[in-house]
Symmetry: C2
Subunit: 134 residues, 2 copies
């Protein structure tokens, strides 16, 4: 599996602009990118904290994954992403170890990373992402 660190933490928010104000104005972090991911129906904002990114996610539609999450659970931490050496190898290893996968093979995520998700049913409730540069 070769997890080196937490690559990022995805946080579902109701209002991106207000949330950026909190992360910058209160916590003193610096937003270094804002991006819309049309097929995921989200607007995102990124902050670096040590070696981990915080990714704020605002839904652009109530029927998108973040919109549904907030409707069910309220705003808060949404997914946890580990940096691995090779996402496809790590997905294969996870499946061999009995984990239900959302992505059988990696796909391209933000910042050109190869990403893949494990199903929260197999991860004790945490929607878990694996990412690598490869």
């Amino acid at each position: 599996m070769n997890i080196s660190h937490i690559e990022h933490l995805g946080i579902a928010v109701e209002n991106l602009e207000e949330s950026i104000k909190y992360y910058e104005g209160v916590l003193g972090l610096k937003c270094y990118a804002v991006e819309e991911v049309v097929d995921q129906k989200v607007k995102t904002a990124f902050f670096m904290v040590g070696s981990t990114k915080i990714e704020l996610l605002e839904s652009t539609s109530p029927d998108g994954p973040i919109g549904k999450f907030i409707e069910k659970k309220g705003p808060g931490m949404h997914h946890l992403a580990f940096a691995v050496k090779d996402t496809d190898e790590a997905l294969k290893t996870a499946e061999e170890r009995g984990v239900q996968l959302i992505d059988k093979v990696s796909r391209k995520g933000a910042e050109g990373l190869s990403i893949g998700f494990l199903h929260p049913k197999s991860t004790h409730g945490v929607l878990t992402e694996l990412c690598s540069k490869k």
Copy 2:
């Protein structure tokens, strides 16, 4: 505020033993400590991932904070802890910047750290902890 990195991520689980099996057996992380915190009504297990700890939390009572959290939202990520230079100074700064505090002054947490919590009403839904060695 002086946040250097994410000190730990607290994850509420229904069964600590089964969850440790997943974090060790599937993700390949190593549990380095298991501890019961009687006044918080939890059993905890710690893993190091890069410079961040993962803290699994199993409730020892349905009326404890983790028991209530799981009843309301299900198992999953519970709180986010930032490492700061001085928890008391950071709490004071947060309050001056309009944040509602759970802890007005720091108290002693796991591993002898000074800790204090910000209220999720003021942090866009994320129960946020500040920790320092001081």
